[in-house]
């Protein structure tokens, strides 16, 4: 690192060899939480007949078995496909509308009113309507996911745009920026932290709504459908295996993908 002249604020950085310890500390709470869930589960399995609550070991073996089965991978893959499409569209839409709202007053008021009314409807309540409008298949599910992820994102971005420093905007104006440049160079980068938080909340919503919508109907593949069907044919082991897969994948996606993305986009904050 270059020598700092003058009175630069140098923040002490932890040394590299402490990395493994930090990693351990970060993982520990998750490990403890996981262990306590396992314990509770084992206790329940002891109390209830195994056709109602199969023990953890049986379920784990089933998970491994299913992961080796093509039909299961296809079904999980379909769920992911729906999530990916829906969440991406929701993010793009939320960002665009949030930015527009921040910049144009009238638009903002209208959208705020719409959001206030619509966002309290649980996303899966829309499924029957969407099935009627769009037919069976992926489309209603994806639309539900979009709704679930869109609102937190939009609200987050709208609020952030309102809080963009007038000073930053003035600087750009003084430098001769036109409206498009203001959006691209001031508003958009300034709201990235809000986008990320909005996205994290939205992702949780999207994932939950995905599984729920797949259970409600209109599809014949998907993780939610898999769990539902297993429940219908008395296969509680598969039900719990499906739930386990949901939990693991959700944690992985959030911890690995989203968290990494957040750090990359906000690296200026974490430096």
């Amino acid at each position: 690192m270059a020598e700092r002249a003058g009175t630069a604020e140098a923040v002490a950085r932890p040394e590299a060899h402490r990395g493994w310890f930090d990693g351990f500390v970060r993982v520990l709470p998750y490990a403890v939480a996981f262990a306590s869930i396992l314990l509770g589960w084992q206790l329940a399995a002891l109390l209830f007949p195994s056709y109602l609550i199969p023990p953890p070991r049986k379920v784990f073996l089933r998970v491994i078995e299913e992961l080796g089965r093509r039909s299961f991978l296809v079904t999980v893959g379909r769920s992911f496909y729906r999530l990916a499409v829906g969440f991406t569209l929701a993010s793009a839409l939320g960002l665009a509308i949030g930015l527009f709202c921040g910049i144009w007053q009238f638009f903002r008021r209208t959208v705020r009113a719409l959001v206030a009314i619509l966002q309290s409807v649980p996303p899966i309540a829309w499924v029957p309507l969407f099935i009627v409008l769009l037919g069976f298949g992926d489309a209603p599910i994806i639309l539900v996911i979009i709704i679930a992820a869109f609102f937190p994102m939009t609200v987050s971005v709208m609020n952030a745009v309102e809080q963009v420093e007038a000073l930053h905007v003035d600087v750009a104006r003084v430098l001769g920026a036109d409206r498009a440049q203001l959006v691209a160079k001031v508003y958009a980068p300034a709201v990235i932290p809000a986008i990320v938080t909005g996205a994290q909340v939205g992702f949780g919503n999207a994932w939950r709504s995905l599984i729920a919508a797949e259970m409600v109907g209109g599809v014949n593949v998907g993780l939610g459908w898999f769990i539902n069907f297993a429940g219908e044919i008395a296969d509680m082991t598969a039900v719990l295996a499906g739930i386990f897969v949901i939990g693991v994948f959700s944690a992985l996606l959030d911890g690995l993908v989203l968290e990494r993305l957040k750090r990359r986009l906000l690296k200026w904050k974490y430096l």
Binding site: P128, G135, G217, N220, G231, A234, D235
Partner: protein, 330 residues
Amino acid sequence: MALIRKAVGLAAGICLMAAPALAAEKLRVAYVHVFDDAPVVVARDKGFFAAEGLDAQVTMFMSGPTLVKGLVTDQTDLGVLGFTNAITWAAQGADLKIIGKVQEGYHSLVARNDRGIKSLKELKGKSLASQAAGSTADIVLKGVVLKSAGLTEKDVNLIYTAPSTALASLRAGRVDSAFLFEPYDSIAKASAPVTEIYEIGKVWPFPCMVVIVPGKLIKERPDAVKKALAALKRSMEFMKEKPAEAAKVLAPSFMAEEGLAMEGKTLPADEIMLKSLKNNIFDWRLAKKDLSRMEELTGVMKELGILKADVPLSSVVDLRWQNELERQKP
């Protein structure tokens, strides 16, 4: 001393008054909201349960797989539902017994006239709205109906949905065909451009709705079991002898929601009910042919991968009360 005598006398009097009320046994009865289970509704509404001395608390479920969970978790005592549900749970270790029959399977496969489906083979690549996934009807559809045309569930775009949604989708043309039971079948034929291309009852009759109870009930309250079966038997006989009256009783339960669904076309509910009554075979006896069909279907379930372990039918079927009822007949 006089006071004590008076008190005892009073107590005895109260007990005597309460006796008739105590005599009516409480029983939680559950059925699936499908016309196949009509005998339960008739038994309830015509007082046949009460006549046998049963205080029946009747609950309705939207599907067999949901109902059987109530049986397994001791939330209901007696259920009328598709027999495969007993098999799947028995395979997992639950103690369930099939003790009598209610209805023989009637499911018709109707297809829209404009989709070029004249026989089962042409279902390949088309969409088919089916019943609750994993239900008896669903198993029969996959393992018998489709199989007979050389198709598997992968060849057809199966859509699992409630029958009323299936009906609406069929009429709106969103789905090419549907596997329906009464009264939806009759309603569809009356209100949508569809043709029936297959009906299982004609080709491959099988016992569909049966009476299932937890083994515990048989051990602890055999009397209640006997009375319930007797009530259902009476109910089915009534439906055969007086169909018009039965139709009236059934209409509010099964037609209330559909009556409004027709825009412009008024379909008299009674008519639909009568048609449905005629199409269905309600019988309380599980005969040898029924048992062999059940064996076949158990094999089908194994083929479809729904059943993971072997379930000998004899461990699930208990025909003691049916035999008793038969002996009782004059």
